[in-house]
Every structure is written in structure tokens, then in C-alpha cells.
Amino acid sequence: MLASLFVPEGASRAGWTEYAPLSASFEYSGSNVGQMLWSVSIIVLGLSSILGSTNYITTVINNRAPGMTWFRMPLSVWSLFITAILGLLAIPVLAGAAIMLLFDQLLHTNFFNVAAGGQPLLWQHLFWFFGHPEVYILILPAMGMVSDMIANGSRKPVFGYHSMVFAIIGIGFLGWIVWGHHMFMSGMNPTLGTSFMVSTMVIAVPSAIKTFNWMGTMWRGNIRFHVPMLNAVAFVAMFVIGGLSGIFMAATPVDMHIHDTYFIVAHLHYVLFGGSLFALFGAITYWYPKMFGRMMSERWGKIHFWLTFVFYNLVFFPMHNLGMGGSMRRIYDPTMYDFLKPMQPLNTFISICAFILFAVQAIFALKFIISLFRGPKAPLNPWEDNGLEWTLPNPAPHGNWERTPSVYRGPYEFSSPLVEEDYLPQTRKLPTDPEPAQHVPAASH
């Protein structure tokens, strides 16, 4: 895909959704090799993701430590497991679509060529059948990691652990039957639109369950506002805003007006940036000591967090207003439309804030690199967490453990009455704990 930037006519220019026939036909898009390279790169990347998913799924099902039952797994692992299943089943559909697109581009097949009986709408269905599970692939790991970080930061077990697991599974499952909500404006039968509307609204329920459970986790906790916790709590708040705007567009009649406006852009950035990206900042900070043996700077982490949080909201919240005012997506010059001219100052304001927001990320990037060499050396378990990974040296050696650990309890035993410390690792054996069933520990290979 990077190479496609340098070929004649340049890279693909049909949007990330690559709708046919713009993407399939050189005479429409003006980009020939670039478009083909896009298709090829999706196929190759897709294959690697599928193989990675196969690995995750097999490992989680078959290779858990003794005593690590399904309901003793941390939510970060649960979310990665469900995400891997989503990827396994959704990405091949994208690969099939990309192959058909490549063949239309390269071999002059006619999958999306109306003149020969093909159907551009087919691309939309295939793409979004992948595309919706894809967005849950983007958010579920973030949700799982946020659960881990919030429990740690609150020194309390996750509220409603089982319902959190079922919510992850529910979101994963429901994500398959909502794809039409990306296509409300494609001319579909209104009854079909209604069914997608209903399923899309239903999917808000498990997400809401998770939100309440995060709040319940923090309630009356002994809260530590370390950098990962700040980012995780920001995730919850920002994801709620993104989810609420999502309800607007789930309603088909409303979507008729706001589709392809900046309201959608606001929504997707609230869930992707406000959601996944804040979770990512928190998670990188959280697991950095385990990966690299040093801590990232707490002070700069807080500076980065607050600046990012403020400017991110200044950039993306006004987009709700822009979108409601009718500002369309993907147009070069909004001032050529009279009805958009009054909103242009808001557009300018957003752009300025966006440049500052981007500049602020240099803090995180520099912090990441500098801490590799100058960060304070990290203890084994700097956040006083319970998971298995915190018993490993920093960084973990190949094969992780020399002797397979045993697991005696769930992952969120914070503030347990059984011990003096406010955390109780999964692998720590108390006199009252029974040994899990084991065979001879296997040598890793």
C-alpha cells in the first residue's frame, strides 16, 4: 500500500471503502496500478490477520495454564479471543471482495460492471458485511484492556465479570447482523432498513451493560489516577458519547439526513479516537514496563493525556454541529456552497485544534522512544496487578515461563480480605487453595 504512493497516477483514490465502480474502473478513478496495489495489499494483509486469528483462537482454547478456566481469564484476553473469531470469519469475505475487485481491475471481469450485468451494490454488501465486524474488531480489545486497567486503578474486581464476558460475546455476535446500517442510503427496501435499524439499536445494550459495569467497578474504589487509569476512564466517557451519536444514525429516518455528513465523522472519531485510541495510549503505558523493562514517564504521560483530551474534544465535538448543519464528508472546498459558508469559522477552528492535537502526539512518541533508554527501570509488577504476565521478567523470555504456572483464582482479586496487600495475583498460592489438575509440564517449542 505504501508502494502505491509512488506508482504512476499514485495511490488508490476511492476512499477506504473503495466503492465500485469508482474503485474498479480506471476511467472513473484515474488510478490504475495504485488501485490494484490496494486490492493486493488487502488480500495479503487479510491473510496475515486470518493466520494470526487462527493462532489466538487455538491458543486460548487449548493452551491455558492449569487452573485458568474460561471464567478466570482476564477480560483483555476474552476480548482478544472474540476479536480473533470476528476477524477469522469477516476478513475472508473482504478478501473475496478484494479479489473480485482486483479481477475487475486487472482481468476485466464484470463483478461490479453494470454494463455486463454486474452489481455495484454487491461490493457494498460484501464490504460492509466485513466492515461492521471490523469496527467491533477495533473496539473490543480496547474494551477488554480498559476493564483490566480500571479494575487495577480502582483496586476492585470488575463489577459483573460474567456479564462483561457475555456482553463481549453478545457484541461479537450481534455485529454480524447490522451491516446494512452503513447502506441505509443505498436504496434498500425500507422494511430491510427497519430490520437493520432494530438490530443496530439492540447492539447498544451490551455496550451499555459494559459502561455501567465500568462505573460499578470504580464505585467506592480506592482509585489510583495513574496514566493508564486516566486514559481508561476517558475511554468510558468518550465511548459513551460516540455510542450515543451512534443511536442517532441507527435510526434509519434520521440517517437519511446525516449520512455522509460530519455528524458521522464525529461519531466514528468519538468511538475510534475517544474509544480505541485512548485505550491504546493507556494500554501501551500499562504494558510498556513488561515489554521493555522501563516505565514511561508518569509526568509526561499526564501532560500528554490532558492536552490530548482537551484538543481531541475541541476537534471532534464541533463536528456534530457541522454535520447537523449539513456539512458533507469528503468535499474539497466547503466554501463553494453558500449554505456551508456560515460554518466555515467552525471548520477553521477545528483545523487549528487538529494541528495542535497532532503536535501533542509528539509527546507520546518521544516519550515512548526516550523511555526505552532513560526511563526508570521497572519492577516486575509496577501496577500491583494480578495477571499472569506480571510474574514474568521484563521483557519476557522466549516461551515465557520455564515452569508452567498454576492459576488459583480469577484475575481481579483486588482488596481481598484474604491478604494484607490490596491485590492477590492469580498465581499466588494461599494455604487454602487446591491445586488445579495438571499433567507433566510441557517443554515449550
Binding site: I50, L51, S53, T54, N55, I57, T58, V60, I61, N62, N63, R64, A65, P66, G67, M68, L88, L89, A90, I91, P92, V93, A95, G96, A97, I99, M100, F103, D104, L107, H108, T109, N110, F111, N113, A115, A116, G117, G118, Q119, L122, L126, T404, P436, A437, Q438, H439, V440, P441, A442, A443, H445
Partner: protein, 223 residues
Amino acid sequence: MTHAAVNAMGPPSPTARGVDAYDMKLGMWVFLGSEVMFFTALIGTYVILRFGAPGEWARPGIVLSIPITAFNTFLLICSSVSMVKAYAAIADGNPKLLNVWMLVTIICGAMFVGIQVYEYQHLIHRGLLPSGVREGSELAELVANGTLPEATMGLYGSSFYTMTGFHGFHVTCGVISMLYLYVTKALRGKYTPQDYRGVEVVGLYWHFVDLVWIILFTIVYLV
């Protein structure tokens, strides 16, 4: 050897297994799940394009050769049988018979691909391209005299080559994998009645590829 004993092969895991299958077998099943979705996308596309097509679809047997492909189908099914016999041979402790049946499977698979390639060449010569019917070809004349519908031949070629082509690609990968295992493991006697996981796992893949072909043959050639 019992099914349970096969599944107990390989390094023992120190925990009760998630499922009663060793890692490689579970991994292959999971991977086959993704392959199901892939072929569903292709076959689903074919169904949508054919039944939403702006005209009649070419009747069976005019463009494609059913007799040769039926033989090919038979060949692939036989190769699945020989695969099962190979598995049974090593399970019963007969590595030499394993080698025989594995070689039969590889040869049948390679013949399948070879015959498909021959078919492709013949079709291209007669004028069926991925983009439709080539001007001035034998099939173009059939279109001109109304035996073949003009409006849908573009879709016919597109869907035919894509579906059978990817299936052929998967068979080729299967033949290569099996050949690799044959040369590096079976011929060197590395499969034993205690550990023949590779045979079982490649066999699973092979049966999947066979099943996809049966579906493809039915809906592309016969319907």
C-alpha cells in the same frame, strides 16, 4: 488406535484441554472456518449475480464440458478415499502402506489440477475469458446464433474463472503441502502409529477442498 489416543499425541498440555483435539488439529479446523467464509463470499456472489442477472444464464453443458469435469470430480473424490486409506494405514501401524496411499492421493490431486489447466486452455481457445466471450471465437458464434445469451456471458466468465480458479489454487496448495510432508516425513519414516498428526491435519484440509469442489461442480456445471 482410538480417536482419543490420536488426540493424546504430541506434547501433553498441563491443563485439561479446551477441546479434545491437539493444537494442530484445532488450528486446522479454525482455519477451515475462515476458508468456509471465503468460499461463501465467492459462491454467494455467484448466486446473487446469476439470479439477479439481466438475462438468461447459459444452459449447462454448452460452454463447459460436463463429461471431463465429471471425471475430474470422480478423481478428486477418489483422492479423498485414498487419503482416508493413508490415514488408516498409519493408524494401523503400516507406514509403508501410508506412503503408497499418500502418493496415490498426491497423484490424483495433481491430475485434477492438470485436467483443470487443460480445461482452462480449451475454454480460452474456444473463447471464454474472465471478461466474457472473445470476439471472433467459437463461443462468440454461439452467442451470435442465440445458443448462448449475450447479456450474461460477461458474468459467466467472471464467476467461472474466479470460483474454479481459487478452488484450483487451494487444491494446488494442498498437493504441494502433501508432497512436502510425503518427502520430508512419510518417505523418511517419520510418521509412526504414535504420532501421525500431520497426516490427519493435511487430510482434513484435503477433505474440505473436496467438499468445496462438489458444491462448485453442482452449482457451476450442473445447474
